[in-house]
Symmetry: C2
Subunit: 165 residues, 2 copies
Amino acid sequence: MIFSRAAEYAIQAMLYLAKWHETHPEERYLQTREIAEAQEIPYYFLAKIVQDLTRFELLTSAKGPQGGIALARSPEEIRILDIIAAVDSTQYLSRCVIGYPECTPETPCPLHYDWQKIKTQIFHIIEHVTLADLIKDAQFQNGRLVAPLTFGVVSVELGESSGKS
Amino acid sequence: MIFSRAAEYAIQAMLYLAKWHETHPEERYLQTREIAEAQEIPYYFLAKIVQDLTRFELLTSAKGPQGGIALARSPEEIRILDIIAAVDSTQYLSRCVIGYPECTPETPCPLHYDWQKIKTQIFHIIEHVTLADLIKDAQFQNGRLVAPLTFGVVSVELGESSGKS
DNA sequence: CAATTTTCGGACAAATTTATCATAAACCGT
DNA sequence: ACGGTTTATGATAAATTTGTCCGAAAATTG
C-alpha cells in the first residue's frame, strides 16, 4: 500500500469528477454524496478529504441546492502529485526504504541505489500523469473507471478463456 | 513509505546481524539490546519484531547469559521478501494503487498498467535480493550499514564539493 | 423571509500501528 | 540449587489513520 486510504479516495473522486465533467459539460457541480455512493467511499470521510482538496484549490465548491464540487482547473492541469500533496505528505519519496535516518548519496543504505530507480519511476508517474491522461478512453463500470483493454496481455475478445490474477 | 516501521526495523536488524556475523564468525549470538542501541531502534519494539522473525524461523534465539539471537540460515538464503512476509502482510503488492476493489487485468483501473511495472520491479527486488547481496562490501558507520560508493553519480573523493539530497 | 440543501468545521469514536512495561521462562556459571 | 542475565509473552499505552456525527454557515428556491 503506497498511498494512504485518504489519497486513494481522493484520486478516485477526482477521476470520477473529471470523467463526469467530460460527459456532462453543461452541469457545473457534482455532489460529494453522489461520488461517495457511486464509489462506495465512506461519505463523511470523503467529505473531509474533499475539504483538503478545495483548500489546496484543486476543487471549487458551492453550498446550497445545485451546489457541490467541481474541478478547479482542467483535467490536463491536475497531476496525481497535486492530489497526493493535498492529502498525504509526499515524504515517502525522500524517506529511506529501510528507515536509515542518514541515507544520502554520501552514506547510502545498502538498498539505496536499487530503490532509487523505483522512486524515480514512481515520481515520474505521479508528476507527469494528469487526470486527462487517466480518463482518456476509460469508461465507467459500476461507478468506477475502467481502463481500455488495449495495453495488457489480453486485449478485446475476453470470452470464457483467460486466467484471472 | 512503502514498508511499515516494523519491516524497516526488521531489515535493519537482519542486516546488522548478517554483517556482524561475517566479522565475528566465532560468536554465535548477538543480543537484541545491542542491535537496538546501535541502530537507535526502540528496544521493546524491536524485541517484538524479533519474536516474529524467530517464529518465522529466520532467527534462532537462546535465553540466558551468552544468549541472544542469530540468523537461522546463511545470509545467501534470506531474502528481503522473507523478512517482509514475517512482519508485514505482503498484500500491498496485490492491492490496487488507487484502491479499486475490482482492479484486475479484465477491469483494470486507469493506472493499472503503469503501476504494474513498478510493482513488478519492487517484487523482483524483494524476491531476489538477499542479505548476502546487501552486506557485500557495505561497512558499518554509526551502527548502520553504508553501501560502497561505487555506483552512484559521485564515487570516491567526496571532499568539500557536491550537493546534498 | 423561511425552508431546504449543501459544504464547512470541530469534536469524537474506532481501528491500526507503534511503543512500553511487567513478568515469566530458560539458561549459565558458580 | 541460586542469582543473574537474557529472550518470550501478554497486557497496556500512545500515536496515527480512518471513519462518524452534529451543528453551524452559506446558497438556492419558493
